[in-house]
Structure formats: C-alpha cells, structure tokens
Symmetry: C2
Subunit: 237 residues, 2 copies
Amino acid sequence: MKKEELLLKLKNGIIVSCQAQPGDPTFGNDCILAFAKAAFIGGASGLRLNGPEDIKKIKKEVPLPIIGIYKDRDLDSEVYITPTSKHFEEVLKAGADIIAVDATKRKHIEAENGAEYIKFLRKIFPEVIIMADISDYEEGVLAWKASADLLSTTLSGYTPYTKGKKLPDFKLVKELAKVVDIPVILEGGVWTPEDVKYAFQCGAYAVVIGTAITRPHIITKRFVMATKNIEEIYNEE
Amino acid sequence: MKKEELLLKLKNGIIVSCQAQPGDPTFGNDCILAFAKAAFIGGASGLRLNGPEDIKKIKKEVPLPIIGIYKDRDLDSEVYITPTSKHFEEVLKAGADIIAVDATKRKHIEAENGAEYIKFLRKIFPEVIIMADISDYEEGVLAWKASADLLSTTLSGYTPYTKGKKLPDFKLVKELAKVVDIPVILEGGVWTPEDVKYAFQCGAYAVVIGTAITRPHIITKRFVMATKNIEEIYNEE
C-alpha cells in the first residue's frame, strides 16, 4: 500500500494502543489480541502495538494498519521507544505498517538526538513510514524537517523537561498542526469523547487512545479515586 | 462472613462487572479473569460475575466479594438474570457471596413477579444475601419488602416499561435510598468519575461499573462516535 493511502486510513480516526507490561493482569495471555479485535469491532482505524511478537500475531488476525514500536528499557539510555535501527528493523519485519520512534532531543544510541536518529533511519529505510514520538514543539519541527512522516505527542509529559504537563497536550497539537505539512497525532492522556472532539478542533489528524480502553486496572483506579474525591490524573505510559 | 460484614466491604466502593457474551473478543479466553484481577489491583471493592464457571475460577484467584448472577436467555421467559432457583443454587455453590436476581414485576418462571420470586428464594435459602435487580421505584420497594438484602438499578432502561430511560438512573437511587433501609446500588450507564461522585450524593451505597472498564469494543465505539460527532449513549447490558 502506498504511504498516502495508508495515512488516509488513519485520518480522523481512533488508533487504539494495545499494550501490557510485565505484571499487568493483561500481560502474557490472550488479552492484547482480544483488545486489538475489540478495537476493530468498535470501529478503530488503526492499532499501536509494542514488540515483534504482538505485531506478528495480531497482524494475522486483525485487518487494521499497525503502528509498531519496540520498547526496550534494558539499554543504558533514556530513550526506549524503538531505540535502535535493530529494533526498528525487527518491528518492520514483524509487519508494522508504520514505525514509531523516540524523536526527542535526548541523546540517542545511534545519533545525537531524535531528529538525527530519524535522518539515520531514513537512509537505511527510505520507504518506511516513520512516526516521530515527540514531547515538545521544537522536537516536532525538527522531526518533520528530518523527514518524519507523522508526528505524535506521545512523549509530552514523559521527558524530564515536560514532566507534569497537563495532558492531553492539545496546545502542542495546535501549534504543530499550524506549521508542519504532515499529520499530527494526539496521544497521551485521552480519557473522554470530549477530548477526542477537541483534538480534532485543534488540528489532530488522528487520536491514539491506550489506557482508557486497554488498561482496566488504571480505568478502575480512576473510578475508585472518584469515590474518594481524589482528583488525580492518570498519566501512565 | 456475616452479612453485615460482607456488605460493609462494598460500602462506598466500585464493583466491577466482568462479563463477556459469546461473540465478544473477550469471551472464552483469559480476559475475564484478567479483568477481575485488574479490578482488584485498581482498588475495586467487589466483582459482579456471570455464571458458575467464571465465579469458581475467579474466586480462587481474586480476593474480592463476588456478586454472582447466571444469565440464561434460552428459557421461554423475559426474565434471564438468575431466572430460577436452580440457577440461584448453582451460583451459590460456585462460591458467590451475594446472588443477584431479576426482581422486576414481570412474570417469573417460579413466581408471579420478582418480589414473589424473592420470597420464594428466601424460603429455600434463608441465609443467602440476595440482590434485587430492579428497573423502577415500585419494584425496588416491593423487593425490599420481600426481604431482598440490597437493591441494584441494573434493569432500569432494560424492561419494556423503562426502555429509553436516561442512564445512569440517579433519580431511582435517590428515591429508593430515601425510603428503604437496605443498600441501594447504582448500576447501568456509568461512564465517568463524575457519575460516580453524583451517585454517592444521591445516596448510593456502591456503584457497579461494567462496560466502561471491561467491554473494550464498546469503549472504542464511544470514542469513534465522538470522531463523527454522534452523541449516542451506549446502554448495552
């Protein structure tokens, strides 16, 4: 499928992030596949999946475009979303249609920063659709100039210099959508249909939702907090 | 555990309903158990589970009080939530701490209506904690007088005479909580932390949440509807 055609499939839609971490009750069993199927049945336009295994398994069973990532926290680096070209290649081979990478200004393993990392990847994988996971405006502009095909606000609130930011980061979407000529995706902290509507008013191309659909222990916690009148915001990646 | 002690465990808490129907992507695999574990981790105070199999399996693994039901739609009756004393007994044997039954005014299989059915069950199971799933005020009062131990608004919106009612049915909780001296549970259509807070203001003893936590295809659909600016309310039992 051509790049333009694939991106159009995501336009104005909901992308469901189906991930679990070791220790989550949904990890290591049928749940992630079930969530991906549920996303499809519910009308999602794409999936965001972590790791070659899940990508391979789900690609066979769910006919939706896949944004693949490969989280690796075992490296000596702050960067853990598809942190090297080797991770990138594995996600590609597993069948991801789009590959998302950390595109923050932080030191990368194979490059000085996220923008340089994208340039580096682009040389090796000229045809692959690359999504830049950014945390602020500057990173978005640099990633765009470095040839990223889409931007996603995934890391806003999760870099040391954006920590504590109120999510969803609508402002970031708004500012970037005015300037760049590639899709800007809102990801992070989306909990309500109102968030979704407002994201599109801000110029979002699509919205990624994870926790509010696929992390039942955090959804439960959010309701339990309401019984205690605690106004906590659950930003867990 | 004594009745009072068990009911106190549920007080002011969130009860997570973990159910799937054939055809749901979460049916017939590890998901319902994972949801129950997630509910526990997230701080829920109880579970609502359907069918002896799930109850048995989850009771072994999750240390939360279980409200058991047994849905059976294969009988020649409008009533399908624990519709006979045989279903009731199976749920009890499976280990449920509380058993919920249809307590609507509709004709029951072993009784003229829900209140009579509760009286009938009470004779056979004098010590069992019975939750009356009701759809309107009158049914709540009658179930209370018939010896129900708790009321739940589960069926508001799902009987022919309450169809189309706006959910959650806060008004029903409010009216019943003023009159009866047993716990009134809000169940049905709870989607937001604000719903939870308001439920307690209305006098709810606890709140049951199902779909918003454990039915990812409907959660997805709700967000997808927002992309289309469709203001539909998802009341699916």
